[in-house]
């Protein structure tokens, strides 16, 4: 019976693709605890080129139910990238870590510093901050060519370094995000 229903849903979903409908279906399938089909549904949405933090969150939940904690953690991480304020997601990541029980080896202090520092802002805000600071720097340099001695040499150098630091931060965050989104692809290719 359960399978029959899932097939029915599948047939429907192929007929009329609408992300909203799939969401509803997925929810009812989830109630039937047919998690694999729910995952298939969401993957279908992702294949269509649409994404949402909730899709990743729900995928994480499904994999959690299937006790595939590594994958689950990965999806929760993706959700967190799109929606950094999701506290539930953060908690779930911790749960997954506990379940996987991969003991975090003590990180070097500078790594934790970097982590804390780069997590101060969302990636988009980092972009904005970096752009804002470079524009101010540009204005200051422009003014100092027209009129002499607006800012001291040292302040100028400091500003330049700060700008480069911001740039590096954004690049680091970008890389991390990319890694998280690509992890899944690698997993799939390994499984195949």
């Amino acid at each position: 019976m359960k399978k029959g229903i899932t097939y029915l849903f599948l047939v429907f979903s192929f007929h009329s693709f609408s992300a909203e409908k799939i969401f509803e279906k997925a929810d009812s399938l989830y109630q039937l605890s047919d998690y694999q089909t729910v995952i298939d549904q969401y993957n279908f949405v992702l294949e269509k080129g649409l994404e949402s933090s909730s899709v990743y969150y729900n995928l994480g939940v499904c994999y959690f139910q299937l006790e595939k904690y590594e994958k689950s953690k990965n999806y929760f991480n993706k959700c967190l990238i799109l929606n950094p304020e999701n506290t539930k997601c953060k908690e779930n990541i911790k749960l997954c870590k506990l379940k996987v029980l991969k003991k975090d080896s003590p990180e070097f202090f500078y790594k934790t510093w970097w982590k804390n520092y780069s997590n101060l802002l969302k990636i988009n805000n980092w972009y904005l901050l970096s752009l804002f600071s470079i524009i101010t720097l540009l204005i200051l340099t422009f003014l100092s060519t027209v009129k002499k001695k607006i800012i001291s040499k040292y302040l100028f150098v400091v500003l330049l370094i700060v700008n480069l630091l911001f740039y590096l931060t954004t690049q680091g965050k970008e890389k991390k995000n990319k890694r998280i989104f690509n992890q899944d692809l690698q997993n799939i290719s390994i499984n195949k």
Binding site: E51, V61, K94, I134
Partner: protein, 581 residues
């Protein structure tokens, strides 16, 4: 224990050293029948000379010593190996039954003497009884190392297949034996190592085909079931005739037989009562219990790795995680069991590691108590109690508090799907990134360009005349300062000279006038050119004239005058500066 280990090590090292060169003794049949002809062979992996044979007075030497020299080259993957061996062989027969020792022989290899170890050959009296010979050509024997054991005490059972010499086995089918009420650990058997044994004057090849360690699970009389093998082999039948060399030719008779060993009983005793509280069916000897912890200070929500290592000889391979009373606030996961046991000849030994992950739920100071574990020592037939260490654990407040429920199954039920919908296109995620990358580098290059431009411009605008002008006031002020010093020292002459020089110097530097052209006319000219007021011009000239006169004409109130003149000079310089700016 330490001593034993030491001896073991020394033995090992000796064997390694001796592996290089050794005079080995080999006998093709041992034990042998008195009627049998045996071959004794000495061999060494080198070119040997001066072989000194052992006394062989106990034997009939039928032939020998025959020495052989063997050399072979082999090249595998570019590695060439040169194998040389020297063998000296004898053909012997015993004079009578008994055990005879071939004492050590020696050989010289490049000046060094190598000795063989003494070798004992056993000779058994030959009984040529034909009726008996036909009776037992193949049989199985089963032997147990112990027949009277406690529950859980391990013992070994060995099944041997005895085959009379000269019998050619065509086919064999081994039926598996199962042991009821026993736990069985099989030992892999090296098939190549066959022994020779003589029973009742008949030589047999002995094949050990099954060797198991059994652990009794139930008390009472337990039966070790018989082993069964189906064999077919060829024996000599009737005389068929003679071949062209006048040798007898026999019919070949193929016999198939189903062999069964005798079954026997094992008496399994109950363990003595009362059993201690922390007894978990471990029977054996030399058990030890150890605990390890990776940290004692942590934040709540973090995990502790707690290990219990059980080591010993006996039924340790059957031991399972035993209940431990961790503090209630700890979340305990099922232990990860690592089995590091090895099957020995008579029992199993090794260690088992139970690895627990503990997650304290809330902060506080907890103790992991000392856990007790008892086992039954088979040597002393008494229970022995083992203990682990006690640990104090300090849990600090963590970032996230996990209640006990959250990590267990309840967390699964709590997980619900999100129902909000806000889809975006996946391709949009990277959009920001692209724009940012381009805009950052364009802006950055602008900044760099401007800086370069600035530096270039600065170098261009530095102009010697401007620089002189700027320096003029500095020099004037310096002069005035020395003049001020002169007031304090009452040095009148120098004072007026300094003032005069400072004024002329200031003028010259300011308006870039050569020192040869310094004159009052020029002052008027440059002042009018630069639109400086007439009164300032006259004041400037007056001051210079005044200084000139003052140097030579002493006046009564010089001290007051000097201060006035200094102030005037300062004022004039400041005024000129304000005009020229």
């Amino acid at each position: 224990m330490k001593k034993l280990l030491f001896y073991l090590f020394t033995l090992f090292t000796f064997s390694v050293n001796a592996q290089d060169l050794q005079l080995e003794v080999k006998v093709n049949k041992n034990p042998a029948l008195t009627s049998e002809i045996i071959q004794l062979q000495f061999s060494i992996n080198a070119k040997g000379d001066d072989f000194i044979p052992p006394p062989l007075s106990n034997f009939h030497v039928l032939s020998g010593p025959a020495s052989g020299f063997n050399q072979s080259y082999s090249s595998i993957n570019g590695k060439t190996e040169n194998k040389i061996s020297t063998t000296i062989s004898y053909t012997l027969q015993a004079k009578k039954e008994g055990e005879f020792t071939v004492s050590s022989a020696s050989v010289k290899v490049s000046g060094k003497k190598y000795k063989s170890s003494p070798y004992t050959i056993k000779f058994v009296k030959d009984i040529n009884n034909k009726s008996k010979q036909s009776e037992k050509t193949i049989f199985i024997s089963a032997t147990a190392s112990k027949t009277n054991v406690f529950i859980g005490e391990q013992f070994s059972v060995i099944y041997n297949l005895y085959i009379k010499n000269g019998i050619n086995i065509q086919k064999s089918e081994v039926f598996p034996t199962t042991f009821d009420n026993f736990w069985e650990d099989g030992i892999e058997i090296n098939q190549k190592k066959n022994k020779r044994e003589i029973i009742d004057g008949i030589a047999y090849t002995v094949i050990k085909y099954k060797h198991s360690i059994l652990t009794p699970q139930k008390s009472g009389k337990q039966i070790v079931p018989p082993a069964q093998i189906n064999l077919s082999y060829i024996t000599r039948g009737k005389l068929r005739g003679y071949d062209i060399f006048n040798r007898p030719v026999y019919h070949q008779k193929i016999t198939s037989e189903s062999l069964k060993s005798k079954s026997f009983n094992i008496n399994v005793k109950e363990l003595p009562t009362p059993k201690p509280q922390y007894f978990y069916e471990s029977v054996g000897s030399n058990f030890s219990l150890k605990s390890e912890i990776d940290r004692t200070k942590l934040k709540s929500g973090e995990a502790i790795n707690y290990k219990i290592i059980l080591r010993g000889t006996g039924n340790i391979n059957l031991s399972e995680p035993f209940p431990l009373g961790f503090p209630d606030e700890f979340d305990v996961f099922d232990p990860n069991v690592t089995n590091k046991t090895f099957i020995g000849n008579k029992s199993v030994n090794g260690s088992k590691i139970f690895e627990y992950i503990l997650i304290p739920g809330s902060e506080g100071v907890y103790t992991i108590p000392s856990f007790k574990y008892s086992y039954f020592d088979i040597n002393t037939e008494k229970y022995v109690e083992l203990k682990t260490k006690e640990y104090k654990i300090n849990v600090l407040k963590g970032d996230l508090n996990f209640t006990k429920d959250s990590t267990n199954n309840i967390s699964k039920k709590n997980m619900e799907l999100e129902k909000e919908l806000n889809f975006t296109k996946i391709s949009e995620r990277a959009k920001w990134q692209k724009y940012y990358f381009i805009s950052f580098w364009t802006l950055f290059s602008f900044v760099i360009l401007l800086i370069v431009f600035n530096i270039y411009n600065k170098n261009k605008t530095i102009n010697p005349i401007n620089e002189k002008r700027r320096r003029s006031t500095k020099i004037a002020i310096k002069r005035l300062k020395t003049a001020n010093k002169c007031i304090l020292n009452n040095n009148f002459d120098q004072f007026f000279e300094e003032i005069e020089k400072s004024l002329w110097g200031y003028f010259g530097q300011k308006f870039n006038v050569e020192s040869s052209k310094l004159s009052k006319e020029n002052i008027i000219k440059y002042f009018t050119d630069n639109n400086i007021g007439k009164d300032l011009e006259s004041e400037f000239i007056n001051l210079i004239i005044h200084c000139e006169f003052a140097r030579y004409a002493p006046s009564s109130n010089k001290n007051m005058e000097m201060k006035q003149i200094l102030n005037r000079a300062k004022e004039i310089i400041i005024k000129v500066e304000t005009y020229t700016k």
